[in-house]
């Protein structure tokens, strides 16, 4: 798949494996028409993506969040029926190439100003809960 490899490296849940087959990860040629529409988002998916996104979704909230997301995916899943064989994905509206700048120092030291809005700072360092005992 080369340059279109996935961005997140997470454990593939069993149902996603089926979808992966449909979307060409298991050897189907790039851009081949979908074999079936993506599977419905599940309550487990909601818990999994909430953890990936680092957003606490409590057990009491999962059902309501799932209901809204399922409705939205109902809209999004219209895309699965579109034949996009051979269509180059569009990453930039003007197909412009990212410019490179001179490798020069352009920023001044504004360390104190930038840290003045931080929740917790000590000796110029951001404070977070201890991660190594």
């Amino acid at each position: 798949m080369g340059r279109y490899d996935t961005l997140y490296d997470v454990v593939l849940p069993p149902r996603a494996a089926a979808t992966a087959r449909f979307c060409g990860l298991n050897g189907a040629p790039f851009g081949s028409p979908p074999l079936r529409t993506p599977a419905m988002i599940s309550h487990d998916d909601v818990r999994r993506i909430a953890e990936l996104a680092r957003i606490e979704v409590t057990a009491a909230e999962v059902d309501a969040v799932h209901g809204k997301l399922a409705a939205i995916f109902g809209l999004i899943d219209e895309l699965a029926a579109v034949d996009t064989t051979g269509i180059e994905p569009m990453a930039h509206v003007l197909d412009a190439i990212l410019p490179l700048r001179e490798d020069a120092v352009t920023e001044t030291d504004r360390h104190a100003l930038y840290q003045s809005v931080a929740p917790a700072v000590e000796d110029g360092l951001y404070l977070v809960p201890r991660v190594v005992e």
Binding site: Y4, T6, L7, Y8, V10, V11, L12, A16, T19, A20, F22, C23, G24, L25, P38, I41, D45, V46, R48, I49, L52, A53, R54, I55, E56, V57, K68, L69, A71, I72, G74, L75, I76, D77, L79, A80, V82, T84, I87, E88, P89, M90, A91, H92, V93, L94, A96, P99, R110, L113, Y114, S116, V117, A118, P119, A120, Y126, V128, P129, V131
Partner: protein, 493 residues
């Protein structure tokens, strides 16, 4: 405000020494103090700084060193960073955030001499079509306070419509300038992607986000755009091209004053005139097209078959980019941090659960899902492919016409609370605006009529990339022949 409180009108009065920048700024601050309790259009107002800028503008005018907008009170959407002033993005996450620097478009308007009176309310992180997702409460529509002003730049639109300021900035990711402009009866321009730098614009969806102006007239939008456009090496997607003067282009008189739009071909996509459009909106748009024909334009049929897929494409691409952009809000370097947590991961989870509202969380979760392993091709890549199909439709259509016209929104402003429980219905309100973001094309909305209940209707025009001058010219000629833009909402001065 005096009879002609447009930016161009105020500049004439400032030039003639009939009024000072300090007087204009005091008057704007007074109007805001009176109206904001009802409209909730402003999140913050800085009287002291505004009056200091106004005094500086008066001094510059006395010395003959004034910038093109010296002394004009304006407002910025609260997603654009303003050094030393709060920039909240309408979110609890940034409720106490003070920006360390100015956004590119903020600096440009400052250099032109515009006086910043305050920051306007918006849907949280620009995610919404009604301004009801703001942590600081909904904005109300000046034409009917029971209705929404549109979103996400609802505060800027309401502030200009209610005559609190003559111009304001907005940002448009899926219609967030044009939809509120239409619902509040003013002009709003989404420039070509890359014309106005995104530097200092708090990112929602980077491949779609576009800063642009709100004002009552096309001429005023041109005056603001002159100060906002231009290459900026700090934004890698800013386009390096020769600078135009949009307002000077409008000063050139047409060859035939009776037919100022002679030769203009207006494309009418069948998909923009189908079912689901409110009858009164359709009638106002039809009348506006008749006016364009009377002014010399011809209309030609065009077709945009893939445009029906704009909403599904948008709700993959925008949330995907949002899930990445908004990962920076983690309670470490700026913004809200939860008071109680167990460990680092728990701090992230609780900080983000508390700091973001329901719609923002929803879009981050959608984005996380569509980018997650096994789903990337089915959703994100697919959406990028369909995005190209939509762009190809527009390219083909714009080969046979100069501008594409249609309604900006399918309905006039809807009542507060009408769609808050049904995100899908809310999303569908952007059906005509999303395509300009997906294609990067410039598009604007201008007032073209009212419903029987006195609610404004907007006409939307698209042009080819960097066709802003064309859009502004069509709108300017239309406004010289009509007076919709001069209607004043009840209670406004």
């Amino acid at each position: 405000m005096a009879a002609d409180g447009t930016i161009a009108g105020l500049l004439r009065r400032l030039d003639a020494r009939e009024v000072s920048a300090v007087e204009l700024t005091r008057a704007a601050l007074d109007r805001i103090a009176k109206a904001n309790g009802t409209l909730n259009a402003f999140i913050s107002v800085d009287e002291t700084a505004a009056l200091a800028q106004a005094r500086a503008a008066d001094d510059a005018r006395a010395k003959g060193e004034a910038g093109p907008l010296a002394g004009i009170p304006i407002a910025h959407k609260d997603v654009l960073m303003t050094a030393g002033l709060p920039t909240t993005c309408g979110s609890r996450m940034l409720a106490n955030f003070v920006a360390p620097y100015d956004a590119h478009v903020v600096a440009g308007l400052k250099r032109a001499g515009a006086v910043l009176v305050g920051k306007t309310n918006m849907d949280e992180f620009a995610m919404g079509s009604s301004n009801e997702t703001s942590f600081f409460g909904p904005v109300r529509n000046p034409w009917d306070p029971g209705r929404v002003p549109g979103g996400s730049s609802g505060g800027s639109a309401a502030a200009v419509a209610a005559r609190l300021v003559a111009g304001a900035t907005g940002t448009d990711t899926g219609g967030s300038i044009r939809q509120p402009a239409a619902l509040t009866g003013i002009c709003g321009l989404k420039p070509t992607y890359g014309l106005c730098s995104r530097y200092g614009l708090v990112a929602y969806a980077s491949s779609l986000d576009t800063p642009g102006p709100f004002a009552r007239t096309a001429l005023d939008c041109a005056l603001m755009l002159d100060a906002m456009a231009g290459h900026d090496p700090r934004d890698s997607t800013s386009i390096d091209r020769p600078k135009e003067s949009y307002h000077r282009a409008l000063a050139t008189p047409p060859a035939d004053p009776a037919q100022p739009l002679a030769g203009l071909r207006v494309g009418l996509p069948e998909q923009y005139f189908g079912d689901g459009i409110d009858g009164e909106v359709a009638a106002a748009v039809a009348a506006a097209l008749e006016t364009l024909r009377r002014l010399g334009a011809t209309t030609v049929p065009v077709s945009l078959p893939a445009v029906r897929l704009s909403i599904p494409v948008y709700y993959v691409i925008a949330p995907a980019e949002a899930s990445s952009n908004l990962s920076r809000f983690d309670g470490v370097r700026y913004g809200h941090r939860a008071a109680a947590y167990d460990d680092l991961r728990d701090m992230y989870r609780r900080t983000r659960a508390e700091g973001f509202g329901a719609e923002v969380k929803r879009r981050i979760l959608i984005g996380t899902y569509v980018l997650s392993h096994g789903y990337y091709d089915a959703y994100y890549l697919k959406a990028q492919q369909v995005r190209r199909l939509i762009a190809d439709d527009f390219r083909r259509a714009l080969a046979t016409c100069d501008v594409i016209a249609g309604p900006t929104t399918p309905t006039p402003a809807f009542p507060l609370g009408d769609k808050t429980d049904d995100p899908v219905q809310m999303y569908l309100n952007d059906i005509f605006t999303v395509a300009a973001n997906l294609t990067g094309l410039p598009a604007m909305s201008m007032p073209c009529g009212f419903t029987r209940d006195g609610l404004p209707v907007g006409l939307q025009l698209h042009a080819a990339h960097f066709g802003e001058a064309r859009l502004l010219e069509v709108a300017h000629r239309y406004q010289q022949a009509t007076d919709w833009h001069q209607r004043v909402p009840p209670g406004a001065e």
